[in-house]
């Protein structure tokens, strides 16, 4: 094993990059679950976000001609956020308005995310597995050798921001009230349905952001199944982080480290790559088994509210 400084620096940067999509998604999941709606559709929403970002940027490139367009990836990011919010809104309508089983409704969206990208990709590119590569990726910010995507900074900035929103603003208070005791919140004049819609759509917007990061920040195209369970890992991280921004920061860093290790160990002769890839998933199972007993979800989570 060559645990020299270069390896550690690469591991550190890789951890930050791997943590970013998890952090976006887990914070999103936190907003949704704090409002009382389980959203395991985040996995699928990441894929929809990634698909949107890649296709929008590539199509605009094709229309505008070559040449660097520094604003172009940001259009892709915004589009991914919008589509993420839209898909989450579908989950919200089905599970809030029609009081569906939230897990089933979200699973439907995840199934949709397995099939729908192929239709879109076949329509635009004639192949069912990946989009054309884009030239206008998100830029890298920071000193030479340590440059990171702006979305990495944004993800870590979102931690204190969402802590402030959740615990220091009236909005955050209402959101939490709706997830803990909707009847009481309703009596006090909080619009339960509206708060839940906001929570779910917010989670979709953030998961869409994670997807955009994967497609045009981390890579430069959409690849089928590129989320690889990140949505579910993020949910596990959210549970492990006790539905709290700071806890989520640390737990996603743990998962990010596991993924980064998996990447850094590939090609070395320490462990076979195919087994190392399972590392984050094993960590998820262990974490859920070992620590969940001590954390408590919002008490109204998963239950449809009826006035």
């Amino acid at each position: 094993m060559n645990l020299d400084a270069a390896f550690l620096v690469a591991l550190f940067l890789s951890t930050l990059r791997q943590t970013t999509p998890l952090l976006f998604t887990a914070l999103g999941g936190m907003f949704s679950e704090r409002s009382g709606v389980v959203n395991i559709a985040l996995e699928g929403i990441i894929l929809f976000g990634a698909l949107t970002a890649a296709v929008v940027v590539e199509r605009l490139e094709a229309a505008l001609g070559p040449g660097p367009h520094p604003w172009l990836p940001w259009v892709g990011v915004l589009a991914a956020m919008a589509v993420g919010g839209l898909v989450a809104w579908v989950h919200a309508v089905v599970s809030i308005r029609y009081r569906a089983d939230q897990i089933i409704s979200a699973t439907a969206i995840n199934l949709l995310a397995l099939g729908a990208p192929s239709l879109v990709l076949t329509y635009f590119y004639g192949n069912a597995t990946n989009s054309k590569e884009v030239t206008n990726r998100l830029p890298l910010w920071g000193p030479e050798g340590f440059a990171l995507s702006p979305l990495v900074y944004l993800a870590f900035l979102l931690v204190p921001l969402s802590w402030w929103v959740l615990f220091k603003t009236p909005f955050g208070l209402r959101l939490r009230a709706v997830g803990e005791h909707p009847e009481a919140a309703d009596t006090l004049g909080v619009n339960v349905y509206r708060m839940r819609y906001i929570g779910v759509v917010l989670s979709g917007v953030l998961a869409g952001l994670a997807g955009a990061y994967l497609a045009i920040g981390f890579l430069n195209q959409f690849v089928r199944g590129m989320s690889a369970g990140m949505g579910f890992i993020a949910l596990a991280a959210m549970i492990f982080g006790k539905w709290h921004p700071l806890g989520i920061l640390f737990s996603t860093l743990l998962f990010g480290l596991a993924s980064a290790l998996a990447i850094q160990l590939q090609g070395t002769e320490i462990l076979p790559a195919v087994l190392v890839q399972a590392f984050p998933y094993v960590v998820t199972v262990l974490v859920l088994a070992g620590f969940i007993g001590r954390s408590r979800p919002p008490s109204a989570v998963g239950k449809p509210y009826e006035k």
Binding site: I104, L119, I270, A278
Partner: protein, 603 residues
């Protein structure tokens, strides 16, 4: 309420308007279609003929009288709906509509046959009725539905059958949305003269897509292929449905299937012995491995309270890694040490060695006609087994035992009876339907028997409906959760026998292309089938048909076959939302209210 009597006339008017619009916009009949989907579209409002004129020998004279007759019928239905005759009259009108459709079908087929009789090879191919004619059929069925709904107790009738109504309605909604998707994705070929013609081409394209999707119903090899694709779906559908019955959501069927496949491969390749020993052992190993892989998240839930949804999904990824580890290479480095594995078959492709002939499930031709002679063994075994189960009126154990004994007797006797010689064409023998299909049927019976006829199944359902009540009633919830997940995993594991032991795709071995995502399709199957064995069987078959037809859609129209996956997902979404039907279709308490009200009216 849905059945306010004042609504009847409005609803019929609405339906009639849609019918008239479809008659105007959509083709009535398509006597000929070329490979890419472009067709000769006939409509009483003007044909669309790419070559300029009707094909030689085809007469469309029947179309116009039929149109006027249909128009008269439509006006009559409107008059009846607004008159005093109401529901009862509509019932007869609906039947009349069905008759009209049959007449259309007969006239059209007659004309096509007449034209095709002129040449040696058929002049007209891929002929079918168009959306305009189907609209007549749909409107007739709609009238029948309205007639039932608006007669006394009609709503209660529908609400009581909500287990069928909600999935069917969701299917219909998904099909409508799927039509929109097709319209967006695919530009119809052919020159367009007017707006009406543009719409006509698009509607025809959507219709043709669905005709292709359901085409396996009308040709024998497609039919067998649909059964082949339904086989694993039955297993995974049951695996998910069993979890639902026990209040658990088993998204782990893909992983359980993979473990089942690995175990079946290990026994099938490396265990020498006679067929009667090796084949059952291989099946057992698949079930056991899948079961243990399923029991793991069950145990994690019972012991630590970890939610099974995320854990089963994680185990799917872990299983996929394990699977690749076994068959993608034979040499691995662990901390500099080299590990040698014997599982990968030499060559570029990631696959295992072939399963021994003794451990293979027989091909369907060997079951139906061993040695080229039709065998009565299986039908007789099935018949006698059923008789044994239904005829004996004692405890469930006695019934199963007698069914088994009689089934075996029937198999032996039927095997001795001489049968007529048969030969199947290459299009039929190339379909790799195999003994796993029979296992799937057995699994359906097992599910029915276990869930609805045993104490364990009763406890399982109690746990799913009201966990706390079940626990106070004496169900050991923790142990039950592990057991349910074990059984579910075993069912999913058996799905793998179709691929590894039955050669369900192309070879009798474990391959990287193992389509373990059918485990996810099981979710759609279970929901569509409402967690009942009959429902799961039918839903699996439906998806088997659509998946087979999806290949045709891809081949002929160039639309990705993932269209079927999207339809499945939409069906799940719509069923989750109760088909967007009023609440008394989803909420059992409100459903009971509706039924009580109907009882009161009757008295």
């Amino acid at each position: 309420m849905l059945t306010d009597p004042r609504r009847l006339g409005v609803l019929v008017l609405l339906g009639g308007g849609v019918l008239l619009l479809l008659w105007y916009l959509a083709p009535w009949a398509v006597p000929h279609r070329s490979f890419g989907g472009e067709g000769l579209l006939l409509s009483p409002f003007g044909h669309h003929l790419p070559q300029g004129n009707l094909p030689q020998g085809y007469r469309d004279g029947w179309l116009y009288p039929l149109f006027y007759a249909s128009l008269a019928w439509l006006l009559l239905t409107l008059a009846v709906a607004w008159s005093k005759a109401g529901p009862k009259g509509l019932f007869w009108m609906g039947l009349l509509g069905l008759l009209l459709f049959l007449l259309t079908y007969a006239l059209f087929q007659g004309s096509v046959a007449q034209a095709n009789a002129l040449g040696e090879r058929p002049i007209l191919r891929r002929h079918s009725l168009g959306l305009g004619s189907y609209a007549t059929l749909a409107y007739g069925l709609y009238l029948l539905l309205l007639a039932r709904l608006f007669s006394p107790g009609g709503l209660a009738f529908l609400v009581r059958r909500r287990g069928v109504v909600v999935p069917l309605f969701s299917l219909l909604l998904a099909a409508l949305l799927g039509g929109v998707i097709v319209a967006v994705l695919k530009e119809p070929s052919g020159e367009v003269g007017s707006l009406r013609e543009a719409v006509m081409l698009r509607l025809d394209l959507i219709t043709y897509t669905y005709q292709l999707l359901f085409s396996p119903l009308v040709n024998p090899s497609g039919f067998l292929q649909s059964l082949l694709l339904a086989t694993p779906l039955v297993f995974t559908g049951l695996a998910v449905a069993l979890g639902f019955r026990g209040g658990l959501f088993n998204i782990g069927a893909p992983g359980q299937l993979i473990l089942g496949a690995i175990a079946a491969m290990l026994v099938g390749v490396y265990l020498p012995g006679p067929r009667w020993l090796v084949l059952p052992l291989a099946l057992l190993a698949a079930a056991l491995a899948g079961g243990l892989w399923g029991a793991l998240p069950g145990w994690l839930k019972a012991r630590f309270g970890a939610h099974e949804v995320i854990n089963t999904i994680m185990l799917n990824y872990i299983a996929a890694s394990l699977f690749l580890f076994l068959i993608s290479a034979n040499e691995y480095k662990f901390f500099g040490q080299t590990l040698h594995l014997p599982f990968k078959y030499p060559g570029y492709e990631a696959r295992s060695y072939e399963v021994r002939p003794e451990a293979r499930l027989p091909h369907w031709t060997e079951l139906v006609a061993p040695g080229g002679e039709l065998s009565f063994a299986l039908p007789l075994a099935f018949l006698l087994g059923l008789l044994g189960y239904v005829g004996v009126r004692r405890s469930p154990g006695h019934r199963v035992l007698s069914a088994l004994l009689l089934g075996v007797a029937g198999y032996l006797v039927g095997g001795l009876l001489p049968g007529p010689a048969v030969a199947f064409g290459p299009d039929l023998t190339s379909v790799r339907l195999n003994g796993a299909f029979l296992l799937a049927l057995l699994a359906l019976f097992f599910f029915h028997f276990y869930v609805f006829r045993t104490v364990g199944g009763y406890e399982l359902r109690a746990l799913g409906l009201a966990p706390k009540a079940a626990e106070y009633g004496g169900v050991l919830a923790g142990r039950k959760v592990v057991w349910v997940m074990f059984l579910a995993g075993a069912l999913a594991g058996l799905a793998a026998t179709h691929y590894v032991l039955g050669g369900g795709i192309d070879e009798y071995r474990l391959k990287q292309s193992l389509p373990y995502s059918v485990g996810f399709d099981g979710i759609a199957v279970a929901l569509m089938g409402q967690n009942t064995p009959l429902g799961v069987g039918l839903a699996a078959w439906l998806f088997g048909i659509l998946l087979t037809g999806g290949l045709q859609v891809n081949l002929q129209l160039g639309i990705s076959r993932e269209l079927v996956a999207v339809l499945q997902a939409l069906i799940v979404l719509f069923i989750a939302a109760g088909g967007f039907l009023p609440r008394y279709f989803t909420d059992p308490l409100r459903a009971a209210e509706v039924e009580l009200k109907a009882e009161e009216v009757k008295r």
